[in-house]
């Protein structure tokens, strides 16, 4: 009760108001936070459109050399998403350089060899360095495979053999993924970007409120006010985190608005994030926003100068995100209970689950958020002690 009484004293309220005004009036800080929050959904949308282009339906340009002698093959290759150009003798490599996704060359004497069961060759030229080439080749093989299957069936029937003999067993592929779980690969980068928004969103204001105030000598005036040092740190943390939390919520909201307009269903992917899930993400971002704000403020306070603070915090922007990326790549099982208590890692895991519309354990979310909040309290107390050291104020 002592804490709450002190928390809401008139000077404290005035302090928080002053900090909030300073942070929200700083156009540069606000601009940076908002720009990142708006750029981020744009980045995700662009990434998805790129993935769609390389995975979705596409018309492939295929050149057929020697096709005039085998019109049935030519007709078969024209089916589906192909723009087929039948050419006489030509160099496959130069055709591939000339925007063709694949080149099919029919061997000389193909029809005679086919009739005589000598299994003639079809040459499929691809350019392995072209990202569409592999898919073009797969489509060519699929089309030719259909005709090949028909011919095999006819040859077996002609000999009185049941086609089933060619399949001693059938392999039935059973994909256990759901349209929402298939979206994991697309949504996996979103938690990291949301966390990054928290870092970038409070970068400018955390430096200004700590190292900036120290340089402007207004920090000394603040320390002379009838408020405790921890109250000063808390006031700054609340103000700074408010802007980064707002930026991350804005980013999340823009994503929710953009996603329904993306043609995800064409890739068999479902945007399954529920309103509940989005609100849960927004709320779970709050303890993290506080933690990131307090860490940035403390780091800026212990830096030698404003410039030094800028350098140190710039490095801090990428450090946790790089760490999360490495953890992701290192195939460590991050779904274990202990990881649920590690700030950043825990939030990243929850967001991943919530974004694909799955449920998370309420108990672990509360426990994990409490760990983050405890760290915030610890940092605030540590920061308060640091503020009382004269050496800190003397740094320029």
């Amino acid at each position: 009760m002592n804490f709450t009484r002190r928390m809401f004293t008139a000077p404290m309220r005035a302090l928080i108001r002053k900090e909030l005004l300073e942070v929200w009036r700083d156009r540069r800080a606000l601009g940076l936070a908002l720009a990142f929050a708006i750029l981020f959904p744009g980045l995700i949308a662009a990434m998805i459109m790129f993935a769609l282009k390389s995975q979705g339906e596409k018309t492939f340009r295929v050149a057929l050399i020697g096709g005039e002698n085998v019109p049935v093959l030519e007709q078969q290759l024209s089916k589906g998403s192909f723009q087929l150009d039948s050419l006489s003798e030509s160099d496959p490599a130069s055709l591939l350089n000339n925007n063709y996704d694949a080149v099919v060359k029919i061997a000389d004497g193909f029809a005679d060899d086919y009739r005589n069961f000598r299994s003639p060759k079809v040459y499929l030229y691809v350019d392995g360095s072209n990202r569409f080439s592999g898919r073009g080749a797969t489509h060519v093989q699929k089309n030719l495979g259909e005709l090949q299957q028909l011919i095999v069936q006819q040859r077996l029937v002609a000999r009185g053999v049941a086609v089933q003999l060619m399949a001693p067993w059938q392999v039935q592929v059973r994909d256990v993924s759901t349209p929402s779980s298939r979206s994991t690969w697309i949504f996996s980068s979103i938690p990291m970007l949301l966390i990054m928004t928290l870092f970038v969103g409070c970068l400018s204001s955390s430096i200004d409120t700590s190292a900036g105030e120290r340089e402007r000598m207004s920090l000394e005036v603040l320390l002379q006010q009838p408020v405790e040092a921890w109250q000063i740190v808390l006031g700054k943390v609340i103000a700074v985190s408010s802007i980064s939390w707002f930026a991350s919520i804005l980013a999340l909201t823009s994503l929710m608005v953009v996603f329904p307009f993306l043609p995800l269903a064409e890739m068999g992917i479902k945007h399954a994030t529920t309103v509940w899930g989005a609100v849960t993400i927004a709320l779970a971002l709050l303890p993290l926003a506080l933690l990131i704000a307090v860490l940035q403020i403390l780091l800026a306070l212990r830096s030698q100068s404003f410039k030094d603070a800028q350098t140190q915090l710039s490095i801090l922007q990428f450090l946790p995100v790089t760490l999360l990326f490495i953890l992701d790549m290192s195939a460590i099982e991050l779904k274990g209970p202990l990881w649920q208590l590690v700030p950043l890692v825990a939030q990243q895991q929850w967001f991943k689950v919530l974004l694909v519309g799955d449920s998370i354990s309420v108990a672990w979310v509360i426990a994990g958020s409490l760990v983050s909040l405890l760290l915030v309290v610890g940092c605030i107390l540590g920061g308060a002690r640091a503020l009382q050291r004269e050496s800190l104020l003397g740094a320029t």
């Binding site: 002698n69 009739r115 011919i151 077996l156 029937v157 269903a265 998370i360 979310v365």
Partner: protein, 482 residues
């Protein structure tokens, strides 16, 4: 104090939102994840108990949920037969995968089929050619499950379907029916018009059409094949295979089983092979253009004494997957009972099939004495309807779409060149279905149907000829050309 209250509200809010998030993700807990052969993605499955006592069955309901559910009505697939299971319609599910992007597809195995208590009388896989043996087994089967057999009919299937719709909480639904499934769909439209949004009928069997009279339709399909073969420069070289077929049928010696080695084991058959076997083999091969393309060569080879290709064709077509008990209950009560011998004689006259198809049902219905079930005259309906027909369908010919369906206003008709029975998966038809479902009242651009061609004819032991161009010219069969 206001701050404390604020903090408390935020904390409470946090807990409530998280709980709601957990609850909302668990809303589909009545369904189990399941799979069907031929469809890789997982489905949601549930059982719905229907009927009482001896007629009780847990109806198998399988749903392919919309990838992106934007509130469009689901589409239910109704299988043919009668006796085919909706769970065997995975080829249709694959063809409609784009429809599935924003629309759930629901499959219900009707009572007595598939996973809903398949009523196959133990003759699902091994089909004997001796009708006497089949009759005996069917008779035992009927006596064993008389109440169940007597209860199966279209009314029951429609009522069950309506129960499923209500159980799943669906408002209006779209129906896709294939072959006999079109009959069920048309009856559903009569009895539950308010539950229906649109109908897609592939290979339509109108309510007032006697679809078990198939000889004329089969003959027309064979003549269309004859015509297409004669226009193909290579197939034409096979000569007059139709005459050879007629001669083969006239001079058929049923003891010639040794000519027909078992296409799976290679063993010589020691049983008699009736003429009806060959007639039904040709009829069944006409169902799909891929198998129809092998008829001219197989027949011309048989004409020269080589029965191997015909045997191979029989091997290709041997698995029907029908629940014969269900087939007979419905066919005997709803079709055979209203078909006179005069109509049968008129239909079969001058056709290669004769009464070969009908006689199985005639024989079967003798030992399957279900009560007749008749339909009322259909009442006018104005739901949007898309009719899909194959130009060479041997059982539900394209001209059925123009007969006995006058009570439907707003029907569109797709005619697939060279198409056999069921054409939903051919060429641009799935795309047209999607367009129709999304805007049923708008005109469809059907020009893309002209790109659909018959597969190349088998003309030798090597298969089709590949270095002679196929003719693109198409000649439509004249209605009632028999």
């Amino acid at each position: 104090m206001l701050w404390i209250r604020g903090l408390l509200i935020i904390t409470l809010g946090f807990c409530v939102w998280v709980s709601l998030a957990v609850a909302s993700s668990a809303e589909s807990d009545n369904f189990e994840s399941c799979h069907l052969d031929g469809w890789g993605s997982s489905l949601l499955c549930t059982d719905l108990p229907v009927g009482e006592g001896d007629t009780a069955v847990d109806l198998a309901v399988m749903i392919a949920p919309a990838v992106n559910d934007i509130g469009r009505e689901p589409i239910y697939l109704l299988a043919g037969g009668p006796g085919q299971a909706a769970s065997h319609l995975t080829p249709i599910l694959n063809a409609l995968h784009k429809v599935n992007q924003d629309r759930a597809i629901v499959l219900v195995d009707r009572r007595g089929s598939g996973y809903s208590g398949a009523f196959d009388c133990g003759i699902n896989r091994e089909i004997t050619m001796d009708l006497g043996v089949v009759s005996e087994r069917l008779s035992e089967c009927y006596l064993e499950k008389t109440t169940f057999a007597n209860a199966l009919n279209s009314r029951q299937a429609v009522e069950d379907l309506e129960k499923v719709r209500i159980h799943l909480g669906h408002g209006k639904i779209a129906l896709w029916g294939g072959s006999w499934g079109t009959r069920t769909a048309l009856l559903y439209q009569q009895w539950y018009p308010d539950s229906l949004s649109v109908l897609i009928l592939d290979a339509v069997a109108p309510i007032d059409t006697k679809v078990f009279l198939t000889a004329r339709a089969a003959e027309n399909a064979l003549r269309k094949l004859e015509l297409d073969c004669s226009e193909d420069p290579i197939c034409a070289e096979l000569g007059n295979w139709r005459v050879e077929l007629d001669q083969l049928l006239v001079s058929w010696d049923k003891s010639g089983g040794a000519n027909f080695p078992d296409p799976r084991s290679g063993d010589r058959l020691k049983v008699d092979i009736p003429r009806s076997f060959l007639q039904n083999l040709i009829r069944t091969a006409l169902y799909a253009p891929e198998t129809a393309a092998q008829i001219p060569f197989a027949v011309s080879q048989a004409g020269s004494g080589n029965y191997l290709p015909l045997s191979g064709l029989a091997g290709l077509l041997s698995d029907s997957g029908m629940s014969v008990g269900l087939t007979l209950s419905v066919a005997c009560a709803e079709e055979l009972n209203r078909t006179s011998s005069e109509e049968l004689a008129a239909d079969s006259r001058g056709s290669f099939l004769g009464t070969a198809f009908f006689e199985f049902f005639e024989e079967g219905c003798r030992v399957w004495p279900v009560a007749p079930f008749s339909y009322k005259k259909p009442e006018p309906r104005n739901h949007p309807v898309l009719l899909i027909s194959g130009e060479a369908d041997p059982i539900t010919p394209y001209y059925y779409a123009d007969q006995n369906l006058n009570y439907l206003s707003g029907a569109k008709h797709l005619l697939v060149p060279g198409g056999g029975h069921i054409n939903t998966m051919r060429g641009c038809v799935p795309e047209l279905i999607k367009i129709f479902l999304n805007s049923p009242s708008e005109a469809l651009d059907t020009a893309c149907l002209d790109d659909i061609q018959r597969p190349p004819f088998m003309v030798g032991f090597f298969g089709p000829e590949i270095d002679i161009p196929k003719t693109k010219e198409k000649v439509r069969v004249q209605e009632g050309s028999l």
